[in-house]
Amino acid sequence: MRIVIIGAGNAGRQLALRLCEEKHSVVMVDADANRLAEAEAGLDILSVCGEGTHPTVLQEAQVERADLLIAVTDNDEVNILSCLMAHAAGAKGKIARVVNPAFLAETETYDLQRMGIDLVINQKQECAHEVFNMLLMPGAHEVFDLFDGQVMVAGCRVTAVSPLLDRTPAECNRLDLMQEVRAIAIRRGDELVVPRGNTTFEQNDLVYIVGTREQVTSFFTWVSPDVKPFERVVIGGGGDLGLMLAQVVEKDFDCVLLELDESRAVACSAELNSTLVLRADALTESAMEEAGIHDQTAFIALTGDDENNIMNCLLAQKMGAAFTATQIARTDFVPVVEQLYLVNRVVSPYISTTHTILHWLRSKRVRAAALLHNLPGELLDMVVAPGHEIDGICIKDISLPERSVIATVLREQAVHTATGDLQLLAGDRVLVFTHADEVGHIRTIFQ
């Protein structure tokens, strides 16, 4: 695919990197020549220097021939305008990153999608949603939902105290649970393993499971009994992201928001209902004490400053917080923070953006439901056609490729666990997890 990316910032570069890896032709446009040169040095891309809304620049980037245009500059107006111009020029797909919620207000007449923008990403909202999922399921490593929230996929780390350790699925003492949720993939080091009945879970495996929200929740309470659900969420920093997160979590948790700037704190408290807004510096022990951090508290540092965020988390840990997560803007910091185990989780809006775009891209191509962040595998959403040879066949009788597994079956809005005896019927939506190499094979089975 020929993809034009407008904006060579963090999100633009991260995207270009991933898209280059997938052998797409990438053209990058940015007005800042230095930033562009920096991006070009490490990537196999064509760069065009200039404003992403100027006709001559768009022409040089050959937007009219593009299969996809992704506008991720820091400026909402520029992003929207680039997409509209690309739409007029005849580019096939258009994606815009839009931060200001005013643009996203749902009005009939001014709906961005109706104007030709295929995907509008509000990266802060995406990010807030990701954090919320994370908070709901302490102990889960990576959580996302499919089929409008009916099915959840979650990654679970096998720790030294995990009941899964050194057992096959059949040997586990909660067989009922193991039969309900389905382990679809294991990341062992850099390797992808598709678990079978005789696969043993090893320490540090990252096991991905699929099930309904209730099933996955009860799975996690069993697997990690020592992790108590969070009661309180303390958010450091009342910026756009902090405020948005507080709005999302205040219904389910006891939420505290720390913001130093007086007028900003006032603005936040106006927007929030049950959240306690404290006008205090999250870097002081007294403020942390006032926020009431205890062993069932999650602390999320969302000030605009990476170094401050990391220090905030360390302080919260010292005060006894059970879980800390920090926003990191600089890509270079992410592996350092993760490797040193400074915090439990790194939150990064532009990484969320990248994932959203990649998910969207994949789903266009193979009707994939999702793509696991760190695995070379894909979740495919296949539909059983009436009269097809697999219509009416039991799951155990389908010969799937080696590194594939049927994760779950959605029939008439109800989720059915994919046991061997389940008979597939026409109209069923079947969620198949497969190694990226086998995608074509799976499609031939179902089509």
Binding site: C20, E21, S25, V27, A41, G42, L43, D44, L46
Partner: protein, 483 residues
Amino acid sequence: MNRRAVFQLVSYLTLVIGLAMVGCAGISIYYAEALALRYSFLFAGGLAVVFALLLSWLTRGPVNLSRRDGFGVVTFGWLTVTIFGSLPYLFSGVIAHPVSALFETMSGFTTTGASVLNNLESLPRSIHFWRALTNWFGGMGVLVLCVAILPFLGVGGMQIFRAEMPGPSKDRLTPRITTTAKLLWGVYLLLSVSEAVLLRFVGGMGWFDAVCHTFTTMATGGFSTRSASIGAFNSAAVDWIITFFMFLAGINFSLHYRALTGKPGAYWRDAEFRFYAILLLVVISVITLNVYVADLASFGASLRQAAFTTVSIVTTTGFATADFDQWPEAVRILLVGMMFFGGCAGSTGGSMKIVRVYIIVKMMIREIKVFMRPSAVIQPKLGGKPIEPEIIAHICAFFAIFVLVFALGSFIMTFFTPNLETAATSVIATLGNIGPGLNAVGATQNYAAIPVAGQAFLTFLMLLGRLELYTVLILFLPSFWKR
């Protein structure tokens, strides 16, 4: 430097060259040449293939190249293929001394076209074919070929492309470097086929001569199957066809691509092309008049010889139809001056490249203007866009190093050559990848008489010139070798 990845790529390169040598054995069988010759190609090719397979196995693993590694791949790659490429000359006994064989091979791959072989007519055809083939591979770049055909290179491919492709401006035809490399090789192949067909049917050459000379023209190499070079064919049609294709080979290949895809206006819109074309026209006129006035030939013959020689020298091909060493002194010094110019950036031509000369001229004018009006803000432009200060600094440094290497090299070569003229022109003829110089290395002479030490030094200069100085010179920085 990531040595494992660097040598893995070197191994693929050696594999390509090894297979090409095995192919030459096929030529040898086709022309029913002596058994010893077939075996020397098979043996040399086999050795290269085995070495390549062994090396690629030893260095197996993912390839991840940094900018620095790109330079390493290119320089080591060129050295390795030169060493293996010299084996057929040695095994077949065509060249006795290993250094001379290396000189001949390096001259081939760098498209210099300087030879240590006497009496070319007596050589077997397979050896001729191999010489021409080394030219052709080296013209567009063996590594660019690898970038085109190796699917896994990714970003690494770009680093290699940067280090091997000549010229300061690396305009890309497509976002992905592999596609760009494929397109460039496609254009190269297309032009080569057209030339071979024209030489065969319009020029009346045999297929073998037509193909060999096509290889060496398109690469701006200059190896010929005859001692008297193109002059041996004594045909106006051949001269003009080759002149035309040398001219094409000296143009940026991305312009050819644009023209072939329906934008012929791209040529004249390109500032470098305009400079190149006008320069050629002016120099051809001056030389034609000089030769005609000196009463060396009729006007038609003067024009034909002047055009051929000028294009041959400026594009750094090095073919000859007339012994320009016998021409008036003014013409001789003019031709030596032209040796510094070279082809356009992104062409197969060598030397300093037209665009660099063009930018330096613009800089000179700017400096003179600023001297008069110290507060004037003047930005030299190329094709309507201001040239970035870093590029100007880079080009000035390039010019300085080029001249310095020329001066130092000439000094060194005076120990190996009979006179100053030979010493100086042998240096620029090899550094600029041209081939023939003046006097004892003139158009009808060759490099056989130069002592082995001198040949070794010139071999180094050829590589230095082909890879545009920096790529080779950074290997002399101690910090390059540190982790």
